[in-house]
């Protein structure tokens, strides 16, 4: 494929507007259709997003990486047996498999302060890229607080609410779930963190959770996400709650000044 100057292609003389938006504007056209380059660009982005959903997370590799930093791990299954079931039955992704339940029963004796759960969710690439580097920042902070922590639970085919069942098993006060978010075309590897105070299976609702979303290279940084999470932990410990009544009042570093940016259509 040569360049965009082929005579069969119509250029859009408003290229300069691309500076204002990540949207796919001024793509040009071949006849009325997408030029080859723009068409394949889209296919590439979609392929990355689809692979993030469908290629299974390498749990053994993740375990190794965490164990290498001397963090203990426990790999658990939900009742969603495979990816197709997982996608169609969100309810099963919120329930531990029989073997996982049995496994947790053995390990609990006295209450823990917090559980850290990592679930593949809808993007294995998000967890592959971001879980271990983020945990290597988070876990020392939690240890420094003197928190008693069980092994990091790695959950195959898990939804956010799987954390409730695990927190309940460990009688833990704080629950943090790192999960692969629904991939967008521009962010196939976005990780989210869901924080719940006194999470209990079948009882905790989404209104009781705080979410830190959009953790990826062009989104929220690990440090920004960590700052937000530690803020939520401290406030939750004070207020003894999480969710809609616990507002995240950390400031986003993104400047609001862009709102004042002129609208060229009306100048």
């Amino acid at each position: 494929m040569s360049n965009d100057n082929e005579p069969t292609l119509a250029q859009d003389p408003w290229h300069s507007l691309k500076q204002f938006t990540p949207a796919r504007i001024a793509l040009g056209r071949a006849g009325v259709s997408l030029p080859t380059r723009a068409c394949l660009d889209f296919q590439l982005a979609h392929a990355l997003a689809r692979d993030a959903v469908n290629i299974p997370l390498d749990f053994a590799e993740l375990e190794q990486r965490l164990n290498a930093q001397s963090y203990q791990t426990l790999t658990l299954q939900t009742q969603a047996e495979n990816q197709s079931v997982y996608l169609q039955r969100p309810d099963l992704g919120r329930l531990l498999s029989t073997s996982a339940t049995a496994c947790l029963q053995h390990s609990v004796s006295i209450p823990f302060d917090a559980v850290v759960v990592v679930a593949d969710g809808l993007s294995s690439t998000a967890i592959e890229h971001h879980a271990e580097p983020f945990l290597s920042l988070l876990l020392p902070e939690l240890q420094q607080k003197g928190y008693r922590l069980p092994p990091v639970c790695l959950v195959k085919h898990g939804r956010v609410a799987i954390g409730d069942a695990i927190a309940e098993r460990y009688a833990a006060r704080l629950c943090m779930v790192l999960i692969g978010e629904r991939p967008g075309l521009s962010s196939p590897d976005s990780m989210g963190i869901y924080f719940t105070y006194q999470a209990r299976s079948g009882i905790s609702t989404d209104a009781e959770r705080n979410c830190i979303s959009n953790i990826h290279e062009n989104g929220l940084s690990y440090q920004q996400a960590l700052k937000k999470l530690l803020y939520l932990i401290n406030e939750a410990e004070k207020l003894q709650l999480s969710g809609v009544n616990l507002k995240d009042e950390t400031t986003d570093t993104e400047p609001n000044s862009q709102l004042k940016q002129a609208n060229f259509l009306l100048d």
């Binding site: 507007l17 056209r29 259509l265």
Partner: protein, 458 residues
Amino acid sequence: MYKIHITQQGYDFKTLRNLMAKATPARSGDYLAGVAAVNNLERVAAQWVLADVPLKRFLNEALVPYEQDEVTRLIIDGHDNAAFAAISHLTVGDFRNWLLSEQATTAALTAVAPGVTPEMAAAVSKIMRIQDLILVAKKCRVVTRFRNTIGLENRLSTRLQPNHPTDNPAGVAASLLDGLLYGCGDAVIGINPASDNLEATSRLLHMLHDVIERYQIPTQSCVLAHVTTTLKAIEQGAPVDLVFQSIAGTQKANDSFGINLDLLQEAHLAALELGRGTLGDNCMYFETGQGSALSANAHQGLDQQTCEARAYAVARKFKPLLVNTVVGFIGPEYLYDGKQIIRAGLEDHFCGKLLGLPMGCDVCYTNHAEADQDDMDMLLTQLAVAGGTFIMGVPGADDVMLNYQSTSFHDALYLRQVLGLRPAPEFERWLQQHGIFNAENQLQQLADVPALFKLPSY
């Protein structure tokens, strides 16, 4: 009552609600809800039984109890018996035959529409193939007006959707201009605000108003905030053309959206009072989608397609300019793959048109659905053949705010070329006047942006 013996197997479906659910073509949301047929034979058995149910039966056996649900009360109390007379003797199976027959002309379908309930439309759609859904919908004609005329024969309108992740005005303007220069935006210029608050909504409303005024574009604007936010904006004097709201087919689901019929009525009256339409007063824009009631755990044992059709009763009450089924947005737990999304989109369009609504479709999917651009091309083409009123126009089909894939400006131009579909006449004249389209409605080769628009000198 709803019994059949088929290939040595007896079935008793007990209630009309159960029968409807079992007769529905397979889709993941109905399995998730636990209401779907367990196998193909049970589904077809239910379809045989359903075909013999008299249409009158739907007026006597409410699928959600009358006492408990204001959508049911709206359907029953608002039913037009005179319009129904022409089809009142038919069963569901006869109704399908009648709809396909030469007797069901555009005029006959228009006359009968107020006598058709959502459940009747849903029931007949369950025993129709894709080509039936297309053929009948194509005969329906629903024309609405605000500042232009939507829904005329051989016309296809587009909603220009210039969303931006942070509502940045220059970012919105960039996508907006891109769309206009591709001939998009006659249905509405409609923005999904990144945050649903009064200040952001008002700012966007003023901006869209100013753009439409300044460039004298024969179209209308909408900021897709919650109806309560829009009402507050109206109180503050913001220039609201169309009031937007997502609606569903049960009272409980609407509750979960924070709305009810009274609230919609209040908003409708407030928008009418503003009187901003120049050609007509259709001033509501509704969005729906199969699965929305179940996702709020408010489906009341209904299958998702019947639930969806009931939402159209809510829409119909307020004479909307546009109704949009956002078919693939909800995800694979409701519509698993391209096949399910395609059929659902065409069912929704058919049911909406049969009930007399200006039905468009957001031909769309998410990245965790088993679907791709080829599936969208199929639904897009079939919807346009069926006479779909409007589709979305998103730059490159990639909505960078809502993170899903819809249809592009290019997609609309493709349909115009292969099917000879034109934009709304007033908008078409504007496009030609400013040299965006030529007299044959083809995009002009532009060496520069039309003189009307001044670009920033960066």
